[in-house]
Amino acid sequence: MSVRRRRLFNDILVNGGLLLLVLLWTVPTLGLFISSWRTRQDIQTSGWWTVFPHREWQTVATLDPKELGLDPDSVMQVEGAEGTFKELREGVTTSDGKQVIWVGNKRLGRIEVQDQVWTVTWDFTLDNYRQVLSGKDYVYKTTDGTEEVIPGDDMSGAFLNSLAVAIPATVIPILIAAFAAYAFAWMHFPGRRLFFILVIALLVVPLQIALVPILRDYSFLKLNGTFLGMWLAHTGFGLALATYLLYNYISTLPRETLESAFIDGASHFTVFTRLVLPLSVPALASFAIFQFLWVWNDYLVALIFLGGNPETKVVTQRLADIVGSRGNDWHLLTAGAFVSMILPLVVFFALQRYFVRGLMAGSVKG
């Protein structure tokens, strides 16, 4: 092989392999996304891939067996197909690629001639999203005229709850951790080393350890089902990591800059708020994104501390509820899943660079 051909071959191999992997990784989400725009009826009866051009059997002619004078109890010949009643019920393929099929029972049935036709199932709707967000009941008319009432779901309320939980539960630990990291890095006080070792040691504690005792404290303090309880819990579980990471960053800030500020008479508080916080924006942003996504996507902590109160349920809880109790309402599940994902995806695309850093650093979370 010449060098050029080999390079071309390598190129195809590399990019082909990559394309395959990307498809594997994208198709699950894509399928759900497409489904969320399809009608309830379509989702239940055909795969989401039917929105792409595909070949489907379509009836091109309907015949009445009586008119043709066919005897269902013997072998019949129709439109170039031959078979008994039983075979025709299953469908008989003719030599020109058509299918002849008996629909219905022996006495009153009809014969359909079907042909494979290129088609797309393009019947998109906003109803799934409307229904999952509004919380209203929806009435469906099935083909035989009966009405079916499908209750909606209050995802919009859950979305607001998630915001109310996630934003403070991101800002509070970062602020507390930044203050602590600054103190560890730039202030002198007795027990500094010991306290810092405590922070590092607590990095390894999995949050499962804390759930039972904290739930007892919360029952006593009446913090169960409150946003404050959630903020504090997420702060507690994220703080060790935040302090550690921010310490790593803040302790490497240029000494001269801070010292000249002290000489000018600035207090620690001023130096922290006016100098250290602005200088630490990259680290703060990286951790903020990690923490935000962690809190937004969290299910376990919400399950325990927000519990069953429908007023304060967050999106992951709501979605899990639909999975649990109405696992076959795919029109709600698909739309609901996307409602729960939209904000993380926006954050992901808008702040990808910080996102990567934050997740890498956050991977050691206990």
Binding site: L21, T29, V204, P206, I209, P213, H268, F269, F355
Partner: protein, 374 residues
Amino acid sequence: MAHVDASEKQEMGVGARFIAFISSVFLAVIIPLIAFAVIYAGFIFLRDSNAPKWVITLVAIVWGVGGIAVLYWVFNGLVERLPPAWTARLQPFVFVGPALAILVWYLALPTARTFWLSLHDRNADAFVGLANYSAIFTERVMREAFRNNLMWIIFGSTFSVLFGLLVATLADRSRWERVSKTFIFLPMAISFVGAGVIWNFIYEVRPVTVPQIGLLNAIVVALGGTPKPWYAWTDIIPWNNLFLIVIVVWLQAGFSMVLFSAALKGIPSELMEAGRVDGASEIQIYFRIMLPYIRGTIITVWTTIVIFTLKIFDVVWVMTGGQFGTEVIATQFFRQSFVARNSGFGSAIAIILLLAVIPVMIYNLRQFREQEAF
């Protein structure tokens, strides 16, 4: 000011002194009181209000974010009002105190309390010694959980590492690096519950007579097979767990890809050049030079995912609730602690989890510090 010279004091009139005193008291006492009152009012509002949902959300955000800032500002203000020696002594604790208090309340004490609970019976009344621990290692359902967690650890971490490495390697040689990496990484933004829904849809099974709406069964049927319930397929226990593990591999491959990608780019090009000059093939260079060079990263990623899969909960809880032989340690912990209300047994599981995590975590932190990942 609390420390005004005596001579200065005499020069000031009584009225001026009085005003100075009042304003000082006002600043030191009234402002904190107002701050606390506002914060408390916010708490009450959030607890009892029937305002529209978006108003409550807005108030909650402002109250939560603002409250913490105000608290720091108030306490710092109080401390700065003290004589300089006391300010210097106390200010560090204003900075570091809240963090320590929360860490002690939420992590340090609970570790001790959970350990204490684990030595007691289900209602935390009677001391039972190590009975809960021996039960953990003998009960059938716990053995199932350990077995499944072992599968999670082995297959979850190995496949995540392999796929991450594969993508990183391919992307490194492709013009489409950025785009392809974005798509592989994207699932990391999705919650486990969301991922559960996505994959439930892939695994959905319908009766043989109607069209399949789940992708996997549609493929199987198109190839002439019969549809299977995959993760609920009890005939193949414990291998049905693999269908749940796939979900986590799908979520985590992006993480390992990012770290490997960075590591591969960090390999000095002279190393590879030297290999080429010596006549090594690309494959030899990859396996003999590049992979050994990023060994540290591979181990870090692998151990990180090991810890992660050790604590796996959401996926299993949402997809199967532990049915069909898919119970894991964390779901057992949840079931024992919060469903069966057996706090002794649940706490013992949590302690086991902690003990299992510690060695891996310490190793990981050491690596993490060496690599200065942040």
